[in-house]
Assembly symmetry: C2
Homo-oligomer: 245 residues x 2
Amino acid sequence: MPATEQNLIIRKLESIFRLSDEERAALQALPMQVQAIRADQDIVREGDRPTRCFALLEGFTATYKMTGDGKRQIHSWHVPGDIPDLQSLHLRVLDFSISTLTPCRVGFIQHEPLRELCRKQPRIMEAFWRQTLVDAAIFREWITNVGRRDAYNRMAHILCEWVLRLRAVGLVEDHTCDLPMTQTELADATGISTVHVNRVLQELRGNGLIVLRGNRLKVLDWDQLRQVGDFDPTYLHFGEDREVA
Amino acid sequence: MPATEQNLIIRKLESIFRLSDEERAALQALPMQVQAIRADQDIVREGDRPTRCFALLEGFTATYKMTGDGKRQIHSWHVPGDIPDLQSLHLRVLDFSISTLTPCRVGFIQHEPLRELCRKQPRIMEAFWRQTLVDAAIFREWITNVGRRDAYNRMAHILCEWVLRLRAVGLVEDHTCDLPMTQTELADATGISTVHVNRVLQELRGNGLIVLRGNRLKVLDWDQLRQVGDFDPTYLHFGEDREVA
DNA sequence: CGTTTGGTTGAAATGTGTCAAACTTTGTGG
DNA sequence: CCACAAAGTTTGACACATTTCAACCAAACG
């Protein structure tokens, strides 16, 4: 397999579907315009009517919405390999924005070749559909998290998810990974205030569940973090399909 | 068009896509097992591995999840015409439960004929995909609602959505519609306590925005309700496609 | 090396939860 | 059709998790 930017997407899809040579080749042939983007930049914005999607190749992004009185809510994070605005293939108007959390490299893919690909390779289309369904499952879990867990448990939950998602793309080593978001961004994701995020993180540290220094997170006690976060990874639907015929 | 149970689904899809005669016929031919279900019954449950979906024909349902300590969070409501667990076509394990809010009539459809239909009628598949994307958009809005709006605004928002979704299927007359959920269920949807739901509803009534009697809701001042709820219906993606070629 | 950004701390204010009781409506069986 | 039970709603008092405000500190950065 040639070392192209498309490989990341292929690897991600292959964790879901067994791809044929033909399907792999079709993905390799996807025209993609790679671009570097600084941290804290919007890639797409609420109200846009995009004619292309993007694949996240390097770095981290988040979807968010602003309320009328200027509060921000983050709905999810993205890790390399994700195609965060895939839905724009079928919903013309974007109802959310996507911003970089860190400097990123992204690959833009025009809708047209993507539609063409879906038409010719129905299994790839299925894989894409499935991706958007997993996104939805994560949204449901976040509603639950924000609606029904207190700040301490909520933060533990979101950290559990983060670690598992990074592990799935090989970015966790020795229980340690990047945690690139600021406490303000964690606040916007959990629906609590920045000040309280700080207190809750200290409590998690004080209780010996995690170590947090700079932008690195180390999980000291996974079992307890998981328990505090009331975390059941089913909703991430990892490797579910390997069992499928 | 013969008066079948499938018509409701077809009508719903046609509000999204212009269907050909062939496509309509294919939908009509979908084998469907109709069943009546009492109120407050689970139709599917977290952890299930369904081999069929169901279309809601009459009544109202909701998806929900329980947390470890027994709290419930509702993620969305369903109105007649919806196929609430369509995602089980591509995600084997259900990560949520669906319960009836009222007595319902539902039509079960086996996965196999549904997959067959998607294979043969790619436009219908697209319509289905699109449905699941709108669901996801609603989830995002609910995260925002629960995470970043206070109880009063949150309740106003959820009522706005309810009214618009019912209006879309012709169930609103004279600004009045059913509101079949109990205050406990409203609490589970908004992430606040039952007692506080009651207080907030009274505030909305006291301010002349709504009338609430029995299970009937009347909106007295839509503009203000909308404003209080910080409600922008874009995320429901109504009639967006009529513009599409 | 000064400036900016992000993290930390404490005190006071407040929105929402909890508890417990009363009231009202709905449904049901005698 | 009444009487009773069950389910849902309403109320008040109090507790408390979280927010807000304001200041300070530490790290990163040009």
